[in-house]
Point group: C3
Chain length 367, copies 3
Amino acid sequence: MKPLLKEIRYNPRLWLLVFVPVVLIAERIAPSNHTLLFVLAILAIVPLAALLSHATESVAEKTGDAIGGLLNATLGNLTELIIAIAALQAGEYMLVKASIAGAVVTNSLFMLGASFLLGGLRHHVQEYNRAGGRLYGGLLLMATIALLAPSAVADLDLARGEVMAQNLSAGLAVLLIVAYGLALLFSLKTHKELFASADHGDKEEAPWPLGLAVGTLLVVTVLVALVSEIFVGSVQKAGEALGMSPAFVGFIIVALVGAAAEMAVAFSAARKDRLDMSVSIALGSAAQIALFVAPVLVLISYVVGPKPMDLQFWPGAVTMVMISAVTASFISNSGRSAWFIGALLLFIYAIFAMTLYVVPPGAHAPA
Amino acid sequence: MKPLLKEIRYNPRLWLLVFVPVVLIAERIAPSNHTLLFVLAILAIVPLAALLSHATESVAEKTGDAIGGLLNATLGNLTELIIAIAALQAGEYMLVKASIAGAVVTNSLFMLGASFLLGGLRHHVQEYNRAGGRLYGGLLLMATIALLAPSAVADLDLARGEVMAQNLSAGLAVLLIVAYGLALLFSLKTHKELFASADHGDKEEAPWPLGLAVGTLLVVTVLVALVSEIFVGSVQKAGEALGMSPAFVGFIIVALVGAAAEMAVAFSAARKDRLDMSVSIALGSAAQIALFVAPVLVLISYVVGPKPMDLQFWPGAVTMVMISAVTASFISNSGRSAWFIGALLLFIYAIFAMTLYVVPPGAHAPA
Amino acid sequence: MKPLLKEIRYNPRLWLLVFVPVVLIAERIAPSNHTLLFVLAILAIVPLAALLSHATESVAEKTGDAIGGLLNATLGNLTELIIAIAALQAGEYMLVKASIAGAVVTNSLFMLGASFLLGGLRHHVQEYNRAGGRLYGGLLLMATIALLAPSAVADLDLARGEVMAQNLSAGLAVLLIVAYGLALLFSLKTHKELFASADHGDKEEAPWPLGLAVGTLLVVTVLVALVSEIFVGSVQKAGEALGMSPAFVGFIIVALVGAAAEMAVAFSAARKDRLDMSVSIALGSAAQIALFVAPVLVLISYVVGPKPMDLQFWPGAVTMVMISAVTASFISNSGRSAWFIGALLLFIYAIFAMTLYVVPPGAHAPA
């Protein structure tokens, strides 16, 4: 426990952990004060996600290269996954889909853009491994095409559409997970030298002993699950009270909260002129959402939800995700960056957020 | 005749020629067994397409560089053209359009992807002429934009739409053919050095004497036309029996059958680490469909079909073709490949095929 | 006045200035001969735009680097802006929006394509500063995404849509102008060395004295405004008489007329093998329309128009602008050009023009 307590003492971000008991107690005392619960839940999830990320890396480091890489890759978006499962259980399909699409958009526009901007404010022009950027850009582009193809292509007849969308989504989910497996085989085994420069582990944090890491992983996962349930239960009503649509909450709020831990690492790398790492975290994480988190959620929905979830996204989401992936691929293709590139990515993100805030998708969007 | 017979003896693929008389006889005996005729016709077209391709190359070789290049380029998709004309005559416009769109998608995703995968399974990383890939990628991208622009842009009013779409398609067809002529002028005459590395002729097959080549070309063209008629006549019913929509048959089956000969060459080149050739065959052929085959079919439809054909594609087809062209351009832009790149292209192709199989375009798609 | 008169004497294009009084008189004599007024107005605007451009550059040269660059950038599309304001005053929102979208398309397809073609007819292969092309391409791509995002993303409910589109457009306009300000800060101040090669001033024309330049600027602006009013008043009826839809007139005619002066400079640079300058004028000007002219028009519409204008474009316009920006970015990314590249860009432009001519956007397009 010592390294954990020491880290908590010296890392101000982790002081937010105090909100974990606070939100759990608040839910007992004031279960109907949704706005309060919503804010407290966000404040509690952020430090938990950071702990989860550190624990995952520590376990990965102890288990050797191949399995470690696998663990890191698979558990990298664990926070997003747990929140989405909580939403699935509550039957909030709109929120789940919005958070999937929003996570891709947030990672590829906001995380990448803020990395470029923060790095560019310190360094005049930043060069980074072009091959790596291109590789992750291509992976992201194809992952999003694979995820969105059915929504973009299928001219769904509403009457008989649901069953077809369902069957298609299940088949697609299997296909995506196979593709993800091959991606891991490629990046961790057959061609791992191509990904070499993109060293995920930020070495300033010492790894924990295996027992502590595994214990933390388990305990924190349970805590995230508990807090996520409160979060999902309050988000709708709180969003309404704050004038936000469910689409906006899923797209922007959930995505930002879920990715907070990775953002901290990506931003700190960018400031140290290690843009390779920022690019690979941002684009790799976005690709992972499309290739792994989304199909896993479809398969899980057969078990936990009131009914299976399909992968039909409303047209605006398809457009936003495609624009984000194309833009991020195009930008990371060049291997050079300056502050304005980051600013432009953030502008596009702001425009999407503003559009979603003002004009939520209509009631005819697939639920 | 000797070189022809010798080639047939030593090339197992050509043994399938036995299915040519079989299908012609079967059509007499069992004209209503559509599924049988469909399968036999496919088995007969594949070796005929290979012969056609070899005969074309032999004629091209004998007639010198410029005319030879022109012949190769113009007759390269002769099989697709003959099948499509048979479908035009039968008034199967949906099938014709699906086969045009499907040929672009199949060439740029399946042929390119399988080349990368097959090459990558033998060679760790494959480098190829980046300028060539970029050139063909750009050509393909612009060819598909030119082909699809009216479908993507025009907000067709259904009432008066048909006549307008008709006029537009005729004008567009002329424009595309002029663009194709300029593309030939560019690649065969003014800038042929840029295309030098992409040597189409696979030198392992000795060219035939001119008389034999021209004779084969004529006889095989007639045979392909006969078999195509049976194929088109049976495909609809057979597709129904096998649970496939006309869109799926045109997009996937016809496109794969029509491109079988070129695929054999592209795949063999990829395995020999000559990806230049694979890329130029795949993307060049896709571009040719858009710039030459499609407009020629529109013009021919004024003569042979029950009514003129337009170039309005249903929205899903537009999206699939655009995604394929953008993805292929983006990928071939890099000049490097590994097996996973090919696997990803094939995954996207599989997702398109699955989507078309499960969710055929609605009845409101333009016929 | 001497340098002005001397320039007019030696520059045959400026002899068209004679049409300025002609059109003003014609409007008194034959106010209902719309086709005549339309043609005369075009003939008058072309030389005025050339004078405006020369005067702006002269003022810019005299006022030093930073302010000069700012002036050049801000007044570079002054003609388009004045015409659009005249259309705003007349309540012709469809025309204004079509001219915004058309200016982006015309600059990125027609101006760039004709530059490549004209340059390529003289020079076998032209190389240009790849970093510059990439930078402008990226800027253009993101500017158009920012401009179009709401139209592409929002699933506007027609009943309550107008007010939302209005609010969104106003907020967006402010955001775009801030982005434009940052772009100027980036290109004129913090990273001006990246843009160094793209020297806009065509040195063959001697700058005028400051007094003359400012005076010309003011007088010509007034003249352009007067002629624009006649142009806008006649364009609708003349278009009808010539069989053109308002969309075609805005997209093609107004955009070509407004950009005539810049085109002359871009084409002359291309012929002199200075493609850097052509690319930066074409793409820079297209980006400026999206980031500066469009939002300024929205803000101005609160003051001059019968009601505020929003930034909702009809779907075909969104597609055309996106295709143009992606194509131009992709092409200018390579740093090499030959005549055929230019020809292909012009073909795509011709296809758009043909489509708009034959199939105007339906009556349900947002006005």
